[in-house]
Amino acid sequence: MPTLELRDLHTDFDTRAGVLRAVDGVTLSVGRGEVLGLVGESGSGKSVTGFSIIGLIDPPGRLSSGSIRFQGRELVGLTERELRKLRGRHIAIIFQDPMMTLNPVLRIDTQMMEAIQAHERVSTAEARRRARDALGQVGIPSPDERLSAYPHQFSGGMRQRVAIAIALLHNPALIIADEPTTALDVTIQAQILAVVQKLASERGTSLLWITHDLSVVAGLADRIAVMYAGRIVESGSVDAVLDTPMHHYTRGLIGSVPSRNQRGHKLLQIPGMTPSPLNRPAGCAFRTRCPAADAVCETEPELTNPAPGRELRCFHPASNTAVAA
C-alpha cells in the first residue's frame, strides 16, 4: 500500500473571469520511503496539488473532485478537525520561502513547542527537550541557545533548517516539500538537500518534492512526475524520464537546461508560452507548443502505460532516444 495515492484530483478556483482549473485530474502515488519529484513550471498546478493534499486550499479555491488516500485512508471529505490531527503529525509540509514561514514575532522554541503540544500531551520541559534535539538533528549549532532566538536572527538557510526540524518533530510518514531550496544559495541548497536526504532515508519518510528544477530532482528523487497545465503528462523513474523522455514537453524542458547543451550554442527551446489556466487549449494542453501535434491532439489524451512503471499522456510519444546533447 503506497503512503499517498491521488486519483483524478481536481482543484478549482472560482474567479471573476470564470473557473480556473489549477489541478485538472492529477493521479499519482508515493510509496513508503520513496522520493517523488513533482516537476513543473509556474502555473502548472504543482504547488496547489501539494496544498490540496492536506486541505490547505482557501476559498475561492476548492477541491472539487477526486480521491486522496493516505496510508489507505480517504482524506477527501474529512472534517477540518480530523484533517488538523493529520497535519504536522502524519503529513508535514515545508514551504518555499524560509524568510516567511516562521512567525517573525514569536521565538523559535514557542513555534516548535506549540507544534509538539498541538498533537501530544507533553510537559513544557519535555517539549523543549524534543525541540532542542530536533534542531540538533538538522545541524543547527548550539541548539540550546538558538531555541530562545527569534527568526530574524537566523539566516535563510538556518530558517529552512528550523522549518525542516518542525516538519520532522512527529516523525511523519509523508513530507510535502514545496520548492524548499529555490530561494537559497547553491552552497546552502546543497546543505539543506543533504539534511533532508539523510533524515528521510534514515526514517523511511516518503517525500513529495515539488520543484521547477529538474537538476535538483535528478540528484534527489527516485521517481519523477512532470506536470503541465494542471495535469501530469509523464512519470516514471528518474533515469527513465530524464534519459528517454517520451512527452514532448519533458523533452523540451530537458533541452532547455543549459548544461545539456554545447556551450555558446542555442538551447533547444520550447516555442511560445504556458497557456493561461483560464484559457487552455482543448484536448492536449501542450499541443499549441508541440512539434508533433496534429488533429488527434484536439481530443484529450488518456494516461497510458508505455513501459513498466511509466505513465504518459500523449498521442505521439517521442521515439525512445536520448535528447540530443
Binding site: V186, T187, A190, L220, T274
Partner: protein, 329 residues
C-alpha cells in the same frame, strides 16, 4: 588581446552607508553600518566578449554590475571606458559612455514603468537623446521590438498585459534602442521559467552575434553562465577570487570556493548524489572574516589565510586566482 578593453576596472571599491555628517547627526539621523560591497576589484572586458560574473547572494555582484553600467559611482578606484577614466569625462562624453552600457534587470515586473505604454518605454530615450526624429519614431520602435522578438502590434499595451518572458524582451528592446556597445545582464533570466529562460538565453546569443555586443553576464546559476560566457569571474563577499576562461574554470577550478561551488551544483547527469560538501554559512558582509574571506568555510585553510588577504594573481596562462595555497608548491 592587446587592444584597449571596452571597460576596465582598476582597484574599484564600493562602500555603502558612509558615516553621517555632523549636521545630519544633529538632525537625528541614525548612523548606518558601513558595508564594503565591492573591494579592490580589477576586471577588464574586451569588445565582443561575454564575461560571466558568478557569486552567491550578497557577494556584491549586482553592485559591481551597476558600477560597470555607470549607474553608481565607485567609492574608490577607476572605471575606464575605452581607456578613459569615466569620472573625468565631459558632460557629453559622460552621457555617451552611460548610453554605451545598458542594463537588463532581474525582475521583469519592477523594471518597467507600469504607467507607460511599451511604445513609450522603448521610444522615450532615443527620442530624448535625438537618436531618432519624431517622424521616424514609430518605425524605429517597431524595429526594436521585432529585434527583441516582440510583435510590434502590441506596442500600445501596458507592461501588465505581458507575460514575464515578454516583459524581459521589452526590457531588452528598451536597452538596445539607445544602441549600446555593451549590456550588463543582472540575473536577467533568474526569475523566468526554465522554458522561457531558454528562449531569452537564445535571444542573447543571437543579439550577441548580430550586434557584436559585449556583455557582463551576472548570475548565480553556474549552468547558465557556463553556457553563455567566454570568460568567468567568481566573486565571494566583495572580492573576485578567481577569473579565467570558461573552459578552465569549469574543468580546472583553482580556488577552493570555485571548486566547492562546482561540486554543489545539482546537475541532470548526477543521479542520487550525496549533497553537502561545503560547511558553514555565508558570512555577513557587515562583518566579514579577516584575511581570506573564505577561510572559515575552506577545507584547506591554514594560519596565513586568517591573517593575510590573498592577492588575485596569474597562476597559469589566462587563469587568475586569489588563494595562498598557490604559493605553497
Amino acid at each position: 588581446m592587446s587592444d584597449t578593453p571596452i571597460i576596465e576596472l582598476e582597484k574599484v571599491s564600493k562602500r555603502f552607508g558612509q558615516p553621517n555628517g555632523a549636521l545630519s547627526r544633529l538632525l537625528g539621523a541614525k548612523p548606518a553600518p558601513v558595508v564594503q560591497a565591492v573591494s579592490d576589484v580589477d576586471l577588464s572586458i574586451h569588445t565582443g566578449e561575454v564575461v560571466g560574473l558568478v557569486g552567491e547572494s550578497g557577494c556584491g555582484k549586482s553592485t559591481l554590475g551597476r558600477l560597470v553600467a555607470g549607474i553608481m559611482p565607485a567609492s574608490s578606484g577607476q572605471v575606464r571606458w575605452h581607456g578613459q577614466n569615466r569620472s573625468g569625462l565631459s558632460a557629453a562624453d559622460e552621457k555617451s559612455a552611460k548610453l554605451g552600457v545598458q542594463m537588463i534587470f532581474q525582475d521583469p515586473q519592477s523594471s518597467l514603468n507600469p504607467r507607460l505604454r511599451v511604445a513609450e518605454i522603448v521610444g522615450e530615450a532615443p527620442r530624448v537623446h535625438g537618436l531618432i526624429g519624431p517622424e521616424g519614431e514609430d518605425s524605429y520602435v517597431d524595429a526594436q521590438m521585432r529585434q527583441a522578438g516582440l510583435d510590434p502590434s502590441l506596442k500600445r499595451r501596458y507592461p501588465h498585459q505581458f507575460s514575464g518572458g515578454q516583459r524581459q524582451r521589452i526590457g531588452i528592446a528598451r536597452a538596445l534602442a539607445v544602441q549600446p556597445a555593451m549590456l550588463v545582464c543582472d540575473e536577467s533570466v533568474a526569475a523566468l521559467d526554465v522554458s522561457i529562460q531558454a528562449q531569452i538565453i537564445n535571444l542573447f546569443l543571437d543579439l550577441r552575434t548580430d550586434l557584436n555586443l559585449t556583455c557582463l553576464f551576472i548570475s548565480h546559476d553556474l549552468g547558465v553562465v557556463e553556457h553563455v560566457s567566454d570568460r568567468v569571474a567568481i566573486m565571494y563577499l566583495g572580492r573576485i577570487v578567481e577569473e579565467a576562461s570558461a573552459e578552465i574554470v569549469f574543468s580546472r577550478p583553482n580556488h577552493p570556493y570555485t571548486q566547492a561551488l562546482l561540486a554543489e551544483v545539482p546537475r541532470l547527469e548526477t543521479r542520487k548524489s550525496r549533497f553537502g560538501a561545503i560547511k558553514g554559512e555565508l558570512p555577513s558582509p557587515l562583518n566579514p572574516p579577516t584575511g581570506c574571506h573564505f577561510h572559515p568555510r575552506c577545507p584547506h585553510s591554514f594560519s596565513r589565510c586568517s591573517q593575510e588577504v590573498p592577492v588575485l594573481r596569474e597562476i597559469a596562462s589566462g587563469q587568475r586566482s586569489a588563494c595562498h595555497l598557490n604559493d605553497q608548491a
